[in-house]
Symmetry: C2
Subunit: 143 residues, 2 copies
DNA sequence: TTGGGGGTTAGAATCATTCTAATTATCACT
DNA sequence: AGTGATAATTAGAATGATTCTAACCCCCAA
């Protein structure tokens, strides 16, 4: 007989990844991830904190930092940095670059064709083994 | 009659760029730039401070930060960031990417062929105007 | 000479993030 | 269900790179 869950069934991907890493599912982690999925505008930890607090007023900023770090470790979320600005968080798992619009401050995802990623890695001398490539643009968009 | 200089003649590029920006040449700015040119290992501001202090013990960390910022504004030096680490400074003016070696902590320059830069910019939708592209690698080198 | 305007300096302030220590929740096993 | 072990959360202090502030210095032009 199925056990009766006391909360709505948690989103599949998160719980699978947490279990794979030997970590527990918690309401805080669920909510942080949910907030990232709902509005994919590359929020900072502070912005995530504000959004999450409206639904869970007792959550702490430390937990938001911890939870975001956990999601990054589980490969469910990417941490995105522009120069020295605060880290932003992105739940888009497709290979993509980031475009930082100076005018609006917005960050946009730019899908990366696999062939381009290969071209870029191909400029490395053979003794360089790249685990990751980051491509980012700075500029502005019309309209 | 030529005026007698009390110091060695300053490196051409720096003084030209400073003058173009309406800024003055100073021993501090000269030395900071010189230190960057002498050892191109992408030092942090603190590392520049240490190197510069051995030749000018009275210089302050604030001046190092100010001077580095000035050199960046003059387009003589690039500020380089990896995740949330301290900013590093690079006097290589050729278009190039950065490879961060996780093992050694070293940062290496990777020259970028103009054609690759075009390829990368070509993935942007037409309404995106990119003023700058940054490419960085994380990994390790053999030997 | 003198005055104005950078430039430099030491130290305080800022701000994102991490750490600490105490509390609370969850899990596995009775 | 009860219990202990372990993980997670929390508030607040600490950290560390960078920026700001305010006083001082130096150069040049009048
Ligand atoms: Mn911006
Ligand atoms: Mn490293
Ligand atoms: Zn993204
Ligand atoms: Zn470089």
């Amino acid at each position: 007989m199925a056990s009766s869950p006391r909360t709505a069934p948690p989103s599949g991907a998160l719980n699978r990844r947490l279990a794979d890493s030997g970590l527990r599912s918690t309401p805080q982690r669920e909510l942080i991830y949910d907030v990232l999925l709902r509005k994919r505008d590359h929020p900072t930890a502070d912005e995530v904190f504000v959004r999450v607090k409206t639904e869970m007023p007792t959550i702490s900023l430390a937990t938001v930092y911890n939870g975001l770090e956990t999601l990054v470790q589980c490969d469910l979320v990417r941490a995105v940095n522009f120069e020295r600005g605060p880290t932003r968080y992105c739940p888009n798992l497709r290979p993509h670059a980031h475009f930082h619009d100076e005018r609006s401050g917005a960050t946009h995802d730019i899908d990366l064709p696999p062939a381009l990623i290969e071209h870029v890695k191909a400029i490395l001398p053979p003794e360089y083994r790249a685990e990751a490539v980051e491509i980012s643009f700075r500029g502005s968009t019309s309209r």
